[in-house]
């Protein structure tokens, strides 16, 4: 039976690169994104690789959408081996906290913290019943260091790091692991929003997928990886 990976925010950037990488490794895929059109393009590509894929549009900040997405994947493949909580939103571009609109601040926190909480909570029962599973949360350098003008996105990633640390402790000994990956700065739409006038070279999302493939099979728990300095032996674990 093929291993099954579930990826949120799979229609572009890192999510799309992960879908293609796991498809090449022979995984069956459960993919979701908010917008149907770009997601359909990714589905076409992974099918060309030969992957079996289930997909739906979903807003993973909504519990009902999360239940629907995870349920149709579990119904189709019978299990989930790997969950990658990739979906996130940046909010407004570079903004000082003192200038940050209240609604936008709240919206970014809800989107970026609620979605890994909800999807993990929904996917966990099946993993715990089988006593195996790997959950990977995508974080950022600004989830560890406070940097001016990264605003609610940075705050939310601090939250994701806390969420992961707590869950890692709670999952110790269950056979299910949860880890963090900081993919580093990549050439994505989100990076364009964060740093509109970036004048230095950026990685491609395709360059950072190895650490995710490694963690999918790893027994490590509660660890934080920086994708751009990772080699497949895991030598750069902090």
């Amino acid at each position: 039976m093929k291993n099954v990976v579930l990826i949120t925010g799979a229609s572009q950037g890192l999510g799309r690169a992960l879908a293609l990488a796991f498809a090449k490794e022979g995984y069956a895929l459960g993919l979701c994104a908010r917008n149907e059109e770009p997601l359909r393009a990714v589905v076409k590509q992974v099918k060309e690789i030969g992957a079996d894929v289930v997909t739906t549009t979903a807003d993973v900040t909504k519990p009902a959408d999360v239940d629907r997405f995870v349920s149709i994947v579990e119904d189709r493949f019978g299990k989930i081996d790997v969950l990658i909580n990739n979906a996130s939103t940046f909010g407004p571009g570079p903004t000082l906290l003192a200038d940050y609109p209240n609604d936008a601040f709240q919206g970014v926190l809800e989107a970026n913290i609620m979605n890994p909480f909800l999807v993990t909570k929904r996917a966990l029962p099946g993993m715990l019943a089988r006593q195996t599973g790997s959950i990977i949360n995508v974080t950022s350098e600004v989830g560890k260091y406070g940097v001016a003008e990264w605003g609610a996105y940075s705050v939310s990633k601090f939250g994701v790091e806390g969420l992961t640390a707590i869950w890692a402790d709670e999952l110790e000994g269950t056979g299910v692991t949860i880890n963090l990956v900081d993919p580093g700065e990549m050439d994505t739409t989100m990076h364009d929003i964060a740093i509109p006038d970036c004048d230095y070279e950026l990685s491609d999302p395709e360059d950072v997928v190895d650490v995710f493939l490694y963690l999918a099979m790893s027994e490590g728990n509660g660890e934080r990886y920086e994708a751009q300095v990772f080699d497949r032996k895991g030598a750069s674990v902090e």
Binding site: A64, R68, S71, I72, D75, P125, G126
Partner: protein, 342 residues
Amino acid sequence: MNAVSPSFTIPDSLNAKQPAELTYSRRDHVRLMTIDECATVMHGSFHDIVQQLHAGDVLVLNNSRTIPPVLRGTQGQQTIEVRLSRKVGAQTWEALIVGDMFQSNETIRFTDGVEAAVTGHGAERPLITLDFSIEGSALLDFIYQHGEPVRYEYIDDSFPLETYQTVYGSVPGSVEMASAGRAFTWQLLEKLKSKGVHIAFVQLHAGLSYYENDKWPSPTNHPEHFRVPRETASLLNEARKSGTRVIAVGTTVVRALESAVTEDGCVETREGVTRLYVDDQHTITSVDGLLTGFHEPEASHLHMLTAFLPYAKLMSAYHQALEQGYLWHEFGDLNLIFRQQP
């Protein structure tokens, strides 16, 4: 046969109208009535289960997850309520049509251009089989997007689907919650595990428990899909050898396990559709105890309880439960019954 003699009535005040977490902030804050092997009745809280179970016992949970099976379609100008009961094939479901204004030779139209045609009778009347115009994951996606949970008349609020889930529910397929395990939290399951109690899982996708108009499923004609995984069968057979107990959480678990028992009394890995009817004529071999809710006098689940203890003793305990004010139905209190030794 459709009903047992109604030997008691449930006052409206004992219908649990909302889940415990809304009343007490925690889903595990329900009461527990225990009937031991000698039919002695004890009253306490659900957390007493940690004392009731011993190291080596196996607690078996049904991790079927509830889907939202109530769909609304139309035939001409007429709104039709469809309650799905059991998945028969990729595009085919057994279902109940609520109400009389329904033409069996006319297509039911749903939103998004989805249609369903009646293709025959279900396992028993009034169930029918419906063939949908979409199938597989697309059909399940549609059901999730447009369906609602079954809400019976004693519930006043339109609680969302997540209210009708156990914390460990994983495999989608039940049209009604396997409610006996609803009060468990992961924290309580962890407490049991740290005491040495083994946790195991089966799946049985529960069908509709009521067909409206005072009609209940005939338990001899109520097929349900079930699966007993290899790990669970092994744990149960080891428990049998070592003399520790197996506690089923819910009548669905009893039905699944008893459907997987071999002639020599072992539980084996099995998946399929069960039509097994467990009542006082059935000798249970796979299970020593049952955690269950409080059942209506007409429900077939009550028959199953008589496989654990004689009807008169069960009714005596139930009358105590009524006097003590235990709450009935899916959000209600719980009853732990240990099988009487013959």
